[in-house]
Symmetry: C2
Subunit: 737 residues, 2 copies
Amino acid sequence: MLLMLFNYLISFSQNPVNYVNPFIGTSNFGATNPGAIAPRGMVSVSPFNVAGAPNLPLEKDSRWLSNPYINENTFLTGFSHVNLSGVGCPDLGVILTMPTTGALKTNHLEYGTTYTNEVSKPGYYSVNLSKYNVKTEVTASTRTGVSRYSFPKGQSNILINLGLGLTNEEGAVIKIVSDTEIEGMRNVGSFCYYKPEEAYPVYFVAKFSHPADDFGVWNTPKKTKGIESQWMGYNGKTRLYKQYKKEVIGDSIGSYFTYHFKEPTTVEVKIGVSYVSIENARENLEKETQGLTFDAIYNKTAATWNDLLSKIEVEGGTEDDKTIFYTALYHTLIHPNTLNDINGEYPTMAKRETAKTKGTRFTVFSFWDTYRNLHALMSLVYPKQQSDMVKSMLNIYDESGWLPKWELNATETTTMVGDPAGIILADTYLRGIQDFDIEKAYEAMRKSALQLENNPLRPGIKDYIEKGYLTTTTTKSGSVSTTQEYNITDFAIAQLAKKLNKKQDYELFSKRSITYRNLFDKKFNLLRPKNHDGSWFSPFNPNTGANFEKNLGFIEGNSWQYTFMVSHDIKMLMKLMGGKKQFVKQLDLVFNNKQFDMANEPDINYPFLYNYAKGYEWKTQDRVSSLIKEYFTNKPAGLPGNDDTGTMSAWLIYSMMGIYPSSPAEPNYTITSPHFNKITIHLNPNYYKNDKLIITSNTSKDKNHIKNIRIDGKPYKDYFISHKELVNSRSIEFTLE
Amino acid sequence: MLLMLFNYLISFSQNPVNYVNPFIGTSNFGATNPGAIAPRGMVSVSPFNVAGAPNLPLEKDSRWLSNPYINENTFLTGFSHVNLSGVGCPDLGVILTMPTTGALKTNHLEYGTTYTNEVSKPGYYSVNLSKYNVKTEVTASTRTGVSRYSFPKGQSNILINLGLGLTNEEGAVIKIVSDTEIEGMRNVGSFCYYKPEEAYPVYFVAKFSHPADDFGVWNTPKKTKGIESQWMGYNGKTRLYKQYKKEVIGDSIGSYFTYHFKEPTTVEVKIGVSYVSIENARENLEKETQGLTFDAIYNKTAATWNDLLSKIEVEGGTEDDKTIFYTALYHTLIHPNTLNDINGEYPTMAKRETAKTKGTRFTVFSFWDTYRNLHALMSLVYPKQQSDMVKSMLNIYDESGWLPKWELNATETTTMVGDPAGIILADTYLRGIQDFDIEKAYEAMRKSALQLENNPLRPGIKDYIEKGYLTTTTTKSGSVSTTQEYNITDFAIAQLAKKLNKKQDYELFSKRSITYRNLFDKKFNLLRPKNHDGSWFSPFNPNTGANFEKNLGFIEGNSWQYTFMVSHDIKMLMKLMGGKKQFVKQLDLVFNNKQFDMANEPDINYPFLYNYAKGYEWKTQDRVSSLIKEYFTNKPAGLPGNDDTGTMSAWLIYSMMGIYPSSPAEPNYTITSPHFNKITIHLNPNYYKNDKLIITSNTSKDKNHIKNIRIDGKPYKDYFISHKELVNSRSIEFTLE
């Protein structure tokens, strides 16, 4: 079912856009989708194949499922127009279009179909729908999804189903405006089955290239009980509103446009989306795509992709190496994505008043994941985007009084633990991306670090400050993990305070950044939860908590997977463990005892930690190379698990380039062996004095260990390099052996 | 609970507006309500007291209930802004406002309250809410409901509940626009639990005189099942969207405005309504009430009521006589009501496209009821309104291809049997109201009388034309009744054809108008259903079918109640029955055997039929007087049953004036004794040459029999008078004995 089409328009095989395989991550819970999307688009048009009979193994309503498309599934019920990529909770996956032929069916179980000939590339997806022999192609601009249906002659129908969706929310409104236009809205929200009171509508306008010969709306209300139902012959049955032109409201509603073609005919449908209003959805559609054909829109989007992906050029390596690399880069350019409409309007946090931005208001901030590497990558390769992301974070602070943690379309989902925004703000600033209001950023960071009451970002802050750690009483989910997360954020505040000459704060937060040490239990040489009275939590099994097993001290992990998550204080951790050798031994145990989890964030920088133990850097080089080989492949299952809005992909990109930002808020990289012979990173001249950095190496199947490094021709002995030194260099030459 | 307030502004006691008691009909299934409404208003603001614990005897969801207010109920849960009056099926009764005090509650079972001090008069209703000690007053302009809440100091809340409602439909959208404005829409429809595919939204905008100190929206989704529900801690629970400003969609939603008053404060809320759009609802509100206080709006509405009611002035009679008379006249001025917005826009039939009218597009055409007397009354007293109603009927024909039968807000509910529109068109034209396109009207009438296939107005038309009657095979509901209804319509077409010099049609339809004779069974001296082979339906019990009992031959009645429903052919019926004496004997049996049903239309002209039997006119006078006395009183139960959008009230008005249009489409009246000493009917000079007609009589408790009649001073011997002669007379003097 998997096929890479090399686009005739961008035919030069070295174009990075030709090395993206959007099917990577569509199996093994990667949670990506092969749909069409423009870089950081509000809209993506994804095939939707997760709805079917309730007993299907990967059916959306019979299990926890967070993506609109699963490579193994075979039953397609439409194309959803707003989607999340690489997340762990179901949401969005709504505004489904579906072409059918023959008699009208409105139940997806009846109109769904198998399919063949899938093609996916940046900004494009196509498939042949077996039941109808309709080729469907989709592309997208930033805020508009575009579909092209090649219908045979006879009756054809284009459905917009607002009942079906991945989100847990229901409720929609649809209105046929004319025989070429439909508008409506759909409830989404309750991400991770949480915060239902912040569910919100997404608005759309659909324009059709051909006027419908017939049209209407359906509504299938839920069956009601009670005495009145005896008079309702229609109870629970689908209603067809033929040629009806007012709003239809309901949970399970949709529209149909019907055609009677005398010859095979191609119909294009454009769907503009907005989180502000139907009017804005229409404006988005018109300003982005009015007068443009499917091909013109696709070509523009593909060219934008190619430009962005070309910011890193790689040479050498296998075709698969290039494919996993550029697909990863592609995945880091999906989220965070655009929230604002083309006129700059976007909804404010929670209250959803309409505000206006001059730049881009980004959304989908999965910071617990992305603070670890993705934003450092953005600062390096796409600093203007990173700057806009930071500004969006400050907007959110202005609107809600708090920095975001896991923001999704102007709702704070409060998913996961910790207070990660400050880490990103400090890291970005310290990497030299400074065109934002740093005083406001600093104020916002301090607020969540210091406010003792009603602090949504730091539950348990009182214990954290008084005792230095959260206890098994403070929280039922991750007392140790959360302590570590607060430590890292406090470290970030301290680093920024130092830079901003706020000495008192520097001292205060430096002290606060290492309190995890209170939780180090020499008996295990590991971190261990403490009870409220200061005693160790017992019995303690450091293995408990792997694979998302519940665990009082650690969230989504166990002690092995968290103990080393103190990059900013590794030297002391080493000391606590009994020195370098003990540290390496303990770290080896993580890997050797299969405690290492490539699919979850707390331990993803572990392979780089050998670099902190002089003489053991080769282990980093080995570990990283073998992890790449094991977990990142040019296959649907080619991601270790959820892509986590690009975090896994960013890990791969850095790892393959031979550098990794192993300690967030320290503007450094640690070094490992590159996986390409030549890597050219194009730098943005508005932020960096050089226009590019070239990393070369004699990497090959047999050569993976660093023999020596030369920077701008001079020997470089260290396995760490500051961001400043890196970007001010012109070349880094690796000699591998 | 019942109290008449004599308005200080319209204080002259002879003002008819002071003789209206809107509580009449709020018990005994009259289905009227005491809410505030402007004449033929789109909006009425009715207290809503039919929702409560499911085991309450008159609770809307535990029985068939068609009105928002029942006089005997005691638990008020708000004020609904669109309501039907005097109908037999539940619908509308939505957009409920409710003032509360103290902590916010969003469940009507919790915030509902008992009440005292109800006051109702045309355009005004007030009540004191016991739980909150909040006096609530409501008034209305044509398309805008206005509420005035007198709050104590402290926390107060104004709710708009879009979940609660009388209609069987669910689904709504609400959006808080600002701290003084809310907009939204609510699904309504499925009148009589039928035609769900024509359910439609009603739109509204609410403006508040005081900015809310706090505001929000609630949504209580239905509880869902399935595996996902285990992750939904919020499953089925009410969500509060605090200070949220985007659309909230759902079945059970509402908004709250909260105030913290430092002293007792009065808040006014205006709610504009439209069936076209939110924009139009806003324009309706603004054009009708912008800058006007509650009192100003009320005074204007009350003055309009007084003007209209003053078209008939009565003198003599008791206070109760005047009250039942003017209340009846008031009830005939509620439906049909206004559908179009102030800018002339209204939704077209079924498709609900936006069209524009120059006059008034009327709606709520319960023609099976109203063709019998109400439209004749309109032609006499409010001919301009009747003309606009006829034009609305022709609009409907233009839009849908068919004349209306039971039209409700641009949906054809197809309730009841027969093809009544043509009767009204002919009757109106023949009474001299002719400023409409009579050729189109005639074409429309002919269409439903002649189209054999896919004829929604005349099911069974083939049998009707071939055999002269419907059979027990043709229809399961009222083969005889339906034959009679078609006969009457065909008679109407014949009369109009005659007037328009269409001789062939006159002959055709005259013949078709008397085919009921085939169903006259001499054995019973009654009408009797026939089987498909022409044999009599057996066993036949003419008593079966009273009180809405199911009956194959007769809908909502039995043979006694239908046999005489052939006013246009009474002479022949008399002959069939064996002559005048037999006819009178048989008619007497209806009354003496308690087969007469004052609460249903088929037999309501029976009391007047004695006038067709010379020498027995005194029986009409007796029957009519005693029926008035028995069924029409100045009490909540003072209507015989459903008012049927004014049909029962029109019966009373005519009966008390001493004239009755006993044979629809014959522009005549039959005469009985008046119930007032002086009745002045003001005639519209655009339609009639005289400006008024005065009916005088020496009516008194003991004098009810007509001794003689003088018209314009000349003795008048007949008990029938043509409409033309009536309106061209200046005085009719009755001498009673």
